[in-house]
Structure formats: structure tokens, C-alpha cells
């Protein structure tokens, strides 16, 4: 069973469109994250949710809106997509005493 899954794996869309990326974890974790990996492979936190509540929101345009319907899911909705949004988006989760984060396979978003 996949621990952290994301859909879709690839997303190609045009500027101005609205798109969503879904993330699910079956690890029973209470905290989930969205990270963005840019074209230079640099990984940076975007959002962090604990028990469905937003606890960290880095400097991210408000076109990005995360939603957590329950502890196992954290979705990312992006409005009015721009060329600069092209990146790989990773979902991750953590829980218990371990503090290690488990990452999903990533969603490669290409905006044309």
C-alpha cells in the first residue's frame, strides 16, 4: 500500500486555468505538508496542516489555497495559473514521535 499518494502525477495546463492536486496518506499521521521543488531542485515548504488546521503558511501567493477535509487528506488548489507555477509539488506527512516526513511521489505541474 502506498503510504502517501498524490494525484495526478503529471499536470499540463495553460496560463489562467485553475487546477487542483490531491494528496492522501494512510499512515495515521496528524500533520501534512505541501512543498514546492523548483527547476533547480530546491525544495521549500509552502503549507503545513496539523489536525486539519493550517499552522504554517509561507510566503505563497494567495492563488494557492490548501484544503484539508480530514486528517488523511490535504489538497492544493491553484487559481489563475502562471508560468512561474511550473514545478514539482510534493505532499508529505508526519506523526507520532518519529518526526521524519514521508513524501508522496510528487506532481509535476507544467504551465504553458
Amino acid at each position: 500500500d502506498t503510504a502517501v499518494s498524490q494525484t495526478p502525477k503529471y499536470l499540463v495546463t495553460q496560463m489562467g486555468n485553475d487546477k487542483s492536486i490531491k494528496c492522501e496518506q494512510n499512515l495515521g499521521h496528524d500533520t501534512m505538508y505541501w512543498y514546492k521543488q523548483d527547476s533547480k531542485k530546491f525544495l521549500k515548504i509552502m503549507f503545513s496542516y496539523n489536525n486539519k488546521e493550517l499552522i504554517i503558511n509561507e510566503t505563497v501567493p494567495n492563488r494557492f489555497s490548501p484544503k484539508s477535509p480530514d486528517k488523511a487528506h490535504l489538497n492544493l488548489h491553484i487559481n489563475s495559473l502562471e508560468l512561474g507555477d511550473s514545478a514539482v509539488y510534493f505532499c508529505a506527512s508526519t506523526g507520532g514521535e518519529a518526526y521524519e516526513q514521508y513524501f508522496g511521489p510528487g506532481t509535476r505541474l507544467t504551465v504553458t
Partner: protein, 113 residues
């Protein structure tokens, strides 16, 4: 604030040779340190982690890392590299209570015959 520096952007080693990837961190308290590996087109896989205790930690795939507080370092090592180890390696630092990880910029490892 936490930060991580991986001084080497790209390293090339011969198959069977030893490997050391450098990582330096900045954090005021005892850090939670991680090494992740990302194969081309893949997600991030945890190689090993350090929270406390023995400063030499063993991970998967024959990797190990040593925490040196005096040098603020957490270098990753492998005695004999295999071609399948070619990938991007990321060092990361975390903190208690679900704090997001801060990643270094990664080191790309190439393995030649």
C-alpha cells in the same frame, strides 16, 4: 532560523569507490537531521535520520552518516558506490513539533564505470 548548506552541487565517483557528501547545518538547539535521496523523476526517499544518541547512524542501501556537533555537520558516506546510487541527495534539518523541514540545495551524484 534553520539552514542547511550542501557545498557540492555535483559529484562524480567511479563505481566501487567510496563516497562522502557534505552537509552543514545551522540551528540553535539539537537538530533533527535527515538525508533523503531522489532518483530521476521520483519522490523523496528517507535514507537515514539523526535525533539523538549515537552520532554514527546507519541507513538503508548501505549508507551511514556521522553527526558532528562541533562542526555542525552531518556528512553522508558509503564505502562502495553502485551505479544505482546515481541520484540527487538532500540533507534536511528539522525541529520538534511538526516543524517543516529545511532542505539544502542538493548534491547530484553521478556514477561512472
Amino acid at each position: 532560523a534553520q539552514s542547511v548548506t550542501q557545498p557540492d552541487i555535483h559529484i562524480t565517483v567511479s563505481e566501487g569507490a567510496s563516497l562522502e557528501l557534505r552537509c552543514n547545518y545551522s540551528y540553535g538547539a539539537t537538530p533533527y537531521l535527515f538525508w533523503y535521496v531522489q532518483s530521476p523523476g521520483q519522490g523523496l526517499q528517507l535514507l537515514l535520520k539523526y535525533f539523538s544518541g549515537d552520532t554514527l547512524v546507519q541507513g538503508i542501501k548501505g549508507f551511514e552518516a556521522e553527526f558532528k556537533r562541533s562542526q555542525s555537520s552531518f556528512n553522508l558516506r558509503k564505502p562502495s558506490v553502485h551505479w544505482s546510487d546515481a541520484a540527487e541527495y538532500f540533507c534536511a534539518v528539522g525541529a520538534p513539533w511538526r516543524t517543516p523541514l529545511v532542505f539544502g540545495k542538493g548534491t547530484r551524484l553521478s556514477v561512472i564505470a
